[in-house]
């Protein structure tokens, strides 16, 4: 079921031909932080919502434009030039609803004819093997013939290494044929399932970052830069004076400031 509800005044035809960037709720929440970094820095327009009962609801002030009401858990943004469409999922998927969310997302993709899809996810950095310890903390899963695959070769973005999984690390449930060829990514949420659903039908790639829980603000900046190196989201015309702007809410991401009265 397509759960996309366009914002008032937005023509869904403008989605056609754009590059779709989908974050997954994954370890350290780096993909989600990255999307919000893009939204705030590029002043992306909220073009609609995903009216999907599969995610936990949340609501807060729309800090990117307070006059515009509230932000919610599952939204869609687009760049000014209409070339890039971003999904933002701010909350986890409800228990037992993953298949439902994946099916709805696939339906959204099938209806609006995106030119290509980039899934951005993160995986547990503590599970890296020796060859993954050095170099950039990014990997790509993409066909070498795809536009993203070719660009990755130009900038020497490594492909995700195919490693023999240890028996206890393998998933203990039946998998589709497509999923069997996809490396197991610890802590990546539904990225693997989503990629498996789409890879045979669409031009889809998956960008993976090795991450650990902690202060991931700088990780999100690095991730945004990597996405930009691959896709060129930031308009090169303003690249010279462009800088990433953190959302105001990130000032207090670890809680309120200390109360000095505690130490009186």
């Amino acid at each position: 079921m397509n759960t996309f509800v366009p914002a008032q005044g937005f023509d869904p035809e403008l989605l056609k031909g754009s590059t779709l960037i989908i974050p997954t709720v994954s370890i350290a929440n780096v993909p989600q932080l990255t999307i919000d970094l893009y939204v705030n820095s590029l002043k992306l327009e909220r073009i609609g919502f995903m009216d999907d009962a599969s995610v936990m609801p949340v609501a807060g002030i729309f800090e990117f434009a307070p006059e515009k009401g509230i932000l919610v858990a599952y939204e869609v943004y687009q760049s000014e030039d209409r070339k890039f469409t971003f999904v933002q999922q701010r909350t986890p998927i409800l228990k037992g609803k993953r298949q439902s969310l994946l099916a709805n997302l696939e339906s959204f993709i099938s209806i609006y004819d995106f030119s290509r899809i980039l899934i951005i996810t993160s995986t547990d950095a503590s599970r890296r093997v020796d060859i993954q310890m050095t170099g950039v903390p990014f990997r790509l899963l993409a066909s070498p013939e795809s536009s993203v695959g070719k660009r990755a070769s130009e900038i020497n973005l490594p492909a995700y290494e195919k490693l023999p999984e240890e028996e206890h690390q393998l998933p203990h449930h039946p998998e589709s044929e497509a999923e069997k060829d996809i490396p197991y990514l610890h802590g990546s949420g539904v990225a693997r399932k989503l990629y498996g659903r789409l890879v045979s039908k669409y031009d889809v790639s998956m960008l993976i970052m090795f991450a650990l829980e902690g202060d991931n603000i700088q990780d999100s900046v690095e991730y945004a830069k990597c996405i930009d190196a691959v896709l060129g989201v930031v308009d090169t015309g303003r690249a010279a004076d462009f800088k990433w702007e953190y959302p105001a809410s990130w000032d207090w991401v670890f809680g309120a400031p200390l109360n000095p009265a505690l130490y009186d």
């Binding site: 919502f49 009962a53 807060g60 009401g69 949420g189």
Partner: protein, 266 residues
């Protein structure tokens, strides 16, 4: 810390692994879909309703119980055989319906409940008001003194509500990064997506001995704020509020502490 709480989530590093949820392995079926919720208005004319006020379980439902004490119910919302909410109205404001939560809604029922309730109300300009709260202990503000400066009641307004002429500007917005969760968030989300004027009022709940309390001051804020947004007919008094608080069963969400709270040794 309330030791009756179950551990909320599995450790974060495993929470994002995709093989940890047995229910997803089989074809997922919405256990609580729209048909599960039975919204019954008892022959009340739903087309005439232009405002719905939802009291979230906690201070919200206490306030509405105090207002409607002794009055009959005009509608109910059931999930199978479990009563989730009851509805009331006032003779002086027949086009306003108040929905009183009977219990905390399970997390996976929240979205379905909001849809089921609001989709039954056909008025395209339906105004939705949610009475919820925030915990003072969990409130984040850049200026610590800000949360203690009157007025401490906060609000969130959807984009359509913000444009409405009667929308109050004297009530502070709930600032980022504070968020609304649960049924209040589900209702606000529905309103924002479906272009309805929606407004949630968050009254502060103080804490004592690790328990978030419902106090008379918490309730008083609602009445004052509702007056500012043109809802003048909801009046309670302190006695009714006290009775509504006292009638709640002790437990995690009761909003009150008993003499044995946190007693470790008898």
């Amino acid at each position: 810390m309330d030791f009756s709480d179950e551990f909320a989530t599995i450790p974060t590093r495993y929470a994002f692994d995709d093989d940890s949820d047995q229910e997803d392995i089989d074809q997922a079926v919405d256990k609580l879909d729209l048909e599960t919720f039975k919204v019954d208005f008892n022959n009340f004319d739903t087309a005439s309703i232009n405002t719905v006020i939802f009291g979230v379980y906690g201070p919200g439902d206490v306030f509405l119980r105090a207002v409607y004490e002794g009055q009959s119910v005009v509608g109910t919302i059931y999930a199978k055989t479990k009563l989730l909410a009851s509805m009331h109205t006032s003779p002086s404001a027949g086009n306003v319906i108040s929905v009183v939560s009977e219990d905390v809604l399970p997390e996976d029922a929240i979205n379905g409940f909001a849809h089921a309730m609001l989709s039954k109300l056909p008025n395209a300009n339906l105004r939705v008001i949610v009475l919820d709260s925030y915990y003072e202990s969990g409130y984040i503000a850049s200026d610590l003194s800000e949360q203690y400066t009157e007025p401490t009641l906060k609000c969130l307004r959807t984009s359509v509500e913000k444009k409405a002429s009667q929308s109050p500007t004297s009530i502070d917005s709930l600032p980022a990064p504070n968020l609304s969760k649960g049924i209040a968030a589900a209702i606000l989300t529905y309103c924002e997506i479906h272009q309805l004027p929606g407004l949630a009022l968050f009254s502060p709940q103080p804490a004592s001995l690790g328990k978030n309390l419902i106090t008379e001051a918490t309730i008083d804020y609602y009445e004052e704020a509702l007056g500012k947004i043109g809802v003048d007919h909801l009046r309670s008094d302190q006695e009714k509020v006290r009775r509504a608080i006292q009638s709640r069963k002790y437990g995690k969400d009761s909003g009150k502490i008993d003499a044995d709270h946190h007693r470790m040794y008898i």
